[in-house]
Amino acid sequence: MKSLFSRRSAVVTVVIAAALVLSGCSKSVNDSAGGASGDCGSYAIAMHAWGGYTASAQVVAEVAKKELGCTITQTTLDEGPTTYDAMEAGTIDVVIEDWGGGRWKEWTDRGAVVEAGLNGNVGLIGMYVAPWMAEKYPDITDSKNLNKYADLFKTADSAGKGAWFEGPAGYTTIGEKMVSANKLNFKVIFSGSEAALVDGFTKAEANKTAFIGYAWQPWTLFAKIPNMESGHVKFPANDWSDPAKASGLTDYPESPLVKLISKNLNDANDAFTSLVKNFKWTNDDQNGVAADIEGGMTPEAAAQKWIDAHADVVATWLGK
């Protein structure tokens, strides 16, 4: 039996070797398929978690693949340091949308990451109550009155206070500071993901239950819940010039969203570099593509649909 076993492993080895040799010398499909490799190399785009990001990144990827013949890989990973590290390591070349007000400074100072301009989207962050509440309790959208309604927001997890649903881990969040500086009787719950917030807002609106949570634009939820904006709670404005010291009194500032590229891509200075640098579109553009994706289209199809309808915009990105 033992000899049979080893003879069998010999057979296996021979067959695999034969297969490999064969695969090495046989005429490859490549020749017949005629790989669409233009003067553009092979690059990786970081894919961050939120729907809007997927829309922007997919549009850039499709244009790069179809118009420039680049080989594009899309790598799902966390925003922030993990991505900057990957850019430094050479495994990621593009971040198409970063909200993080300069948190990449350490990497740009080292020259590992390069800022590539604004992408045209403007980020607005704020705390929102479910819109039905704004209608029923008109004064709830003034932060001074929140405590009056804190009891409504109680859950099993909020330790007897109102539950305040904070944005995902990587996002710019100052909930704890806002709560303590405004002396709000709320407990910050780190809801962890976009999904949790979508779920929270839609269930609250459908079932008329109380909900206050973190929201941002551009975001497809604003298309799904029509009067979402009416639930925007206004806080006393504050100076945001130094994020480290910004006290809790502040509401979130408007942030123009930034593109980042790796040193490699910047140095390559090829067709893809200029596509990324030229890429610019509006919040409405992004929301449209993101809504298609959320509605069940594949990201590829949704991006292609937008590209087909906006040939003129794409042409400006390509410098035509």
Binding site: K2, L4, L77, R110, G192, S193
Partner: protein, 642 residues
Amino acid sequence: MKVRKSYLLLGSVTIWILLARLLHGKNTLQLDTYENTAFTTFVGEKALELRGNRTGSPAFIYFFNPIRAVIDGFVQFIRNIIAVPAPNSVIPIIGWLGVVGIVAFVVFATSQWKTALLATSLLLACGALGMWQFTMDSIAMTLAAVLLSLAIGIPLGIWAGLSDRVLKILTPFLDLAQILPTLVYMAPIALVFMIGAASATIATMIYAIPISIRITSHAIRNLNQSPVEASESMGSTRKQTLTKVQIPMAKQMIVLGINQTVMAAVSFVVIAALIGAPGLGKPVISALIIRNVGQGFVAGFAVVFLAILLDRSTSAVAKKQASFVPATAKEIMRRRIIVGIAGAGAVISVFMSRTMLWAAVWPKEVTVAPQVERFTNNATNWILDNLYIFTVGFKDFISYSILNPLESLLSASPWYVTVAMIVALALIIGGGRTAILAFVLAMGIVLSGLWYEAMLTLTQTIVGTLLTMIVGMALGIWTGRSDRAERVLRPFLDAGQTLPAFVYLVPMLGLFGPTRFTAIATGIVYSIPIVVKIVCAGIRAVPHALVEAATAAGSTTRQIITKVQLPAAKKTILLATNQGLIYVLAVVVIGGFVGSGGLGYLVIVGNSKPELQGKGLIAGAAILLLGVIFDRIMQAGARRSS
């Protein structure tokens, strides 16, 4: 003795509750998430320095970076063969048909046609789920990690099998690796090796190597000693005895070790995507982010198929038994001819996958993914819409009745009270040495500045373990007493063990919302299979004579269970509780993604906010300390009860 111990336990808990009431809210060491302590700031600065040095310092240039480059290159080499377009090419070296042909042939040649058929259909099913490339990426990652793990694990295992000293040195590390929650060591690894395939491979290896070391050394140690002695007495050198006697005799067991190493690597497929592993983890995690249950399940099924495929084809080799009837020359000849034909088929399929596009790239039209996705989404939506009231009711019930009181007991009382109580419990259950260890480790958490968050995590872990044990004991006793129950439950337990926790984190989020209970529920589902299996084995190991004697004495079934089987299986049940606790802890911290807060959230937020990176790293260490404290107490308890 036994009575006194339970009185002592009861007494300490009473004192604890009284003190907690008296000193409620004092010295809780609570810290806002964005706040750093001097210590976490220091660690954060060190981490930043480390990142800055990655291109400059000798340690990186001559050590870490070459390791990363070599592993990256190795993974990329395997991916080029089966998964991603090879350099200067639009397809991998071997297309899908070729991969199917080779897998079918290898499995057929090493075991039998039934396993080969199963393997082929599972592979095709992954393709039909639209996951071909992700599956190939995962296979490539698994293959790379397993080969590297075995290259380190088997020699070390053999060495530890031969030398008591080596085993003694390795044992603490092996124990530690087994209780190390996966979320914990990803960040430090990524800090040194950066995000990417190399980090993911190394993380997988840390998980898999201890298993191969353990089983290999066990295999060498438990050999029948007489052939070994015979060989020695005939004047063989140690090397001859090892290579001609011990290793061949232990071969079957070592193959089982390979099987377990492969399974460990597969179970890492999803979580490794968090640090940049290519493969099936990506669609699972993106499904979590956009809460697409259907997509999560499609990718999750592919993970399970892959796990079954690898499990069956490797364990079939291990189980292959020599027949007592020697094969006739004719049978051997026939077998050889069939194997030869299969080999030719494999070669032809590779050739076709190189020359024809349909055999190279999985045809997009051949897919059931949209149907599966729609079906699961509809089913989940129905459950969410109709059962929401019940699930929320259950969640609230558990939260108000157990979770909140316990959380207030642990986190809202002064740290010194809780530390004293943990030490007292360690003393009563485990004895003096365990108590000292528990004190040192608990003080480590206090000094880290993350005591409050640690208590939140501890609360969730305890509640999760409690619920797990209620369900797990019931099912374990049932399957332990009835063969039929075991046959019915077995497939579910196996599937539950291979399905990555991330896959059901998505529907749990839908059922319970962003709450602590979502994390707890996920931890329960994850840990029940292992608890059931251990309890079942414990009940089955109770000597028949005992049970028969009790039956003859006229005991009822209930009496037999409570008076005979459970007491006799006490040690196993303690070990099951320990295993359950470690499993729950590992998953509860992942709950940071869905609103459970605690240490897990700090680890996650530390990965994405540079100013909190130090805090995240320390939070990881604190999770580990928690795990070790409870593992040591329970292990000591189990040792004493035997």
